[in-house]
Symmetry: C2
Subunit: 448 residues, 2 copies
């Protein structure tokens, strides 16, 4: 990882801030990319960060603020007056500016907007503040270059020139009609090699992918990934062009989704990072641990009903961990395959086909494990119990495969993240089912 | 998901192929994006796909082949003669063409290269075939637009015009010296708004991010994500510009890595998908199931040493699932936090700080759960056993937190995917440790 800075370097910067060595600090940050300055700042105190930020060009400062991690930025922004912040937001892309403002208390937000100089930006931001964070409207920026279908190339280039300062990265030029309805696009390459007199109407690409402002961020990510796009236009219900979403924001959506899935799979109930407060860390873990604990106590209660059997055949207890662990492993494997299949566009084939395949794989693996365990137990324990253990193991594998397959599908139907199906709730259920199966089989076979 | 096609539609297409209704098929695919045609083909037989492909424009066909899933493409390409394939590869971007050729038997690969018309493309591909799939060289395409530092804007535009056909998406124009050493870049926007007489030397951006051909794909992904890039140039050891990597390929790397992590966490030993063969499915699951089974049998063996104790106090067995499940849950939570912290650039702070935090969180959660369980058990079971269970639970939480934290760090040091630490091997170890702690505590407290 090249974006970590040594503790020594961070300390050195912190000392320089303390002693107000502005010349040294300015030199240090002069050629550094904003994303790297943000990475450095994540090691410094909020006060030190503010001191450094004020030494930077406001343009760079704006990028640094956008690049900071949300939780660090929150602490840091508490130190600013509205007038100070507005200076940076004047320079920030509208999507990032709206995200930053959303992190502020309402009063502060209004004050910052009120003291901004760039009135066009203020209009952009106020519009963006309406959208939920996790929809296309919440991801889009208002800055884009659009041209009228009736123009020629010369007029387009003039427009790009006019907007060049405002729009940081121009990927493509959008083509609209007199009512701002999105008609298509012209690539920069096409514009560059065209004649000045060529008509937009003759050059533009009419059929392009677009999203509606209300579409979910994950849908946008999927669409851009499917069509290999680096930017996608956003339209409102009338088909008017209202913004654009760039791939860098979508990459963040993809990464966050992967992290959320991992957390769902591992029983963390909040978006938690290693550097969060101890209390937040403990709190994010407790809910699922308590669920697991309740499952364990229920299991204890259930086993309590078999006290006499256990006194007679204590060897029955020996295989409890085997049964519960295998059920858990099989369940998680099954659900993960389904979760990935749901994420990558669904299983192609009939419902019957899907369950038939699950059944066959479960029988294959169930038989293999049951026979291996039987072979082992045959040597060490009495025969009746060896049969019980293997029959129970086979049954548990069958049930856990089925549960693991169906749970994510059901969760997905109800709009819940299916990755939860690989998490502790299901493992806990599988433990209980495993115990139930094991002792039921034992009762049936040993009593007969 | 908008890229799934109904079974009915797929059947209709298949029937049209059977009855050679070319007019219908051509009309159906005329305005469809290549990525969508690929999605449709994933539901059809390889023979049907080939029939449809031959109706398409070879340019579109080339994109369709690139977009197909690797395993489907493999079956499909087995139907082609070298001469047929080469027609498509002449039109494919060099990076995709190299990937496709890498999936063919060596003899076929040579034949295809031999019958290609586009000699420049052949040179590109042969060069790319040298690189491992998972390094920057394996991700890059050779198609790019570069200009000499001594040129003016007019010459640049002529060069873009000349290469426009060859390079699909031009994001940026690279600036090199007479020896092809990468010096910087000019954005398309800059070129478009510059005067024809302006010098490249005055316009270009000198400090730009780049990668070396040998860098790992995940490093490339991290770099592009860190700097929000949509394209990055690749240089060789001398600093010569040899290719470029576009964000769409990097998005695939990020998605694949997330899938690999999920599989590592859930005990799947191969990259498996729901539609893979039944045998592949069973095989991918068995190894970790057998590991878990062995752990279960070891546990049974261990418990065998406590047969007399279990006969005396069968209630001891009741809490086995509680102890093992809690150990597993705590271990997975701890390791996932560390895994995500490793992935997002590491923990900022001292080693001592890290473990101190782990310790405090473990004590907080350990005490909470131990007290809850004690309160519950106080009502139902004898006091000595209630104490044993709570002490054991607390100890297991402490140990599992520590193991969960240290395991991914150690795996990462040895270059193994740390996500494995949230997987079944560690869960199995935790089960055994949990049993060991429980019965040791029981022996110590109950015998005294």
């Amino acid at each position: 990882m090249s974006y970590e800075y040594s503790a020594k370097y961070i300390k050195q910067l912190s000392r320089a801030v303390e002693q107000k060595e502005d010349a040294y600090l300015e030199k240090e940050f002069e050629d550094m990319h904003a994303a790297d300055i943000s990475a450095v700042m994540e090691g410094l105190s909020a006060e030190d960060c503010k001191y450094i930020l004020e030494l930077l060009d406001p343009n760079v400062g704006a990028d640094v603020i956008s690049d900071l991690e949300e939780d660090i930025r929150k602490n840091f922004m508490a130190l600013f007056e509205a007038g100070e912040l507005s200076k940076y937001l004047d320079q920030t892309d509208s999507d990032d500016a709206a995200d930053i403002l959303n992190e502020l208390p309402v009063k502060m937000r209004e004050e910052v907007l009120g003291s901004m100089q760039n009135q066009e930006k203020v209009l952009y931001i106020v519009d963006l503040l309406h959208y939920e964070e996790d929809c296309a409207g919440g991801l889009m920026a208002k800055e884009l270059v659009k041209v009228n279908i009736n123009w020629n190339v010369h007029q387009c280039i003039e427009e790009v020139r006019r907007q060049a300062k405002k729009v940081d990265k121009v990927y493509t030029v959008y083509v609209v009609d007199d009512h701002d309805i999105l008609l298509g696009r012209i690539s920069m390459k096409r514009l560059l090699i065209a004649d000045e007199e060529d008509k937009v109407a003759d050059l533009y690409e009419p059929e392009i992918a677009k999203v509606h402002s209300y579409q979910e961020d994950e849908e946008v990510a999927e669409l851009m990934q499917h069509y290999d796009l680096e930017v996608i236009p956003v339209v409102n219900v009338q088909g008017r062009l209202i913004g654009r979403i760039t791939i860098d924001d979508v990459v963040d959506v993809i990464t966050e989704q992967a992290e959320k899935d991992q957390q769902a799979m591992s029983g963390l109930s909040e978006d938690i990072e290693e550097r969060d407060s101890l209390w937040a860390m403990a709190r994010a873990r407790l809910p699922w641990l308590i669920v697991g604990m309740s499952g364990g106590l229920l299991g204890a209660n259930f086993l309590g009903g078999f006290e006499d059997e256990l006194r007679l055949v204590p060897a029955m207890a020996f295989f409890i961990p085997l049964i519960t662990a295998t059920g858990g492993n099989v369940g998680i494997q099954s659900s993960t395959i389904v979760v990935q299949s749901l994420a990558s566009g669904g299983f192609q084939g009939s419902v019957f086909d899907r369950y038939f395949r699950v059944l066959i794989v479960a029988i294959l693996n169930g038989l293999t494990l049951a026979l291996l365990v039987y072979a082992f137990n045959f040597l060490f324990i009495e025969h009746a119990l060896a049969v019980v253990v293997s029959v129970a193991l086979f049954s548990v594998i069958m049930i856990a495969s089925f549960m693991g397959t169906i749970t994510p599908i059901v969760l997905d139907k109800f709009g819940i993240n299916p990755a939860l199906a690989s998490g502790p709730f299901i493992t806990t259920c599988n433990d209980l089912i495993g115990l139930g199966v094991y002792f039921t089989v034992a009762k049936m076979l040993l009593h007969s």
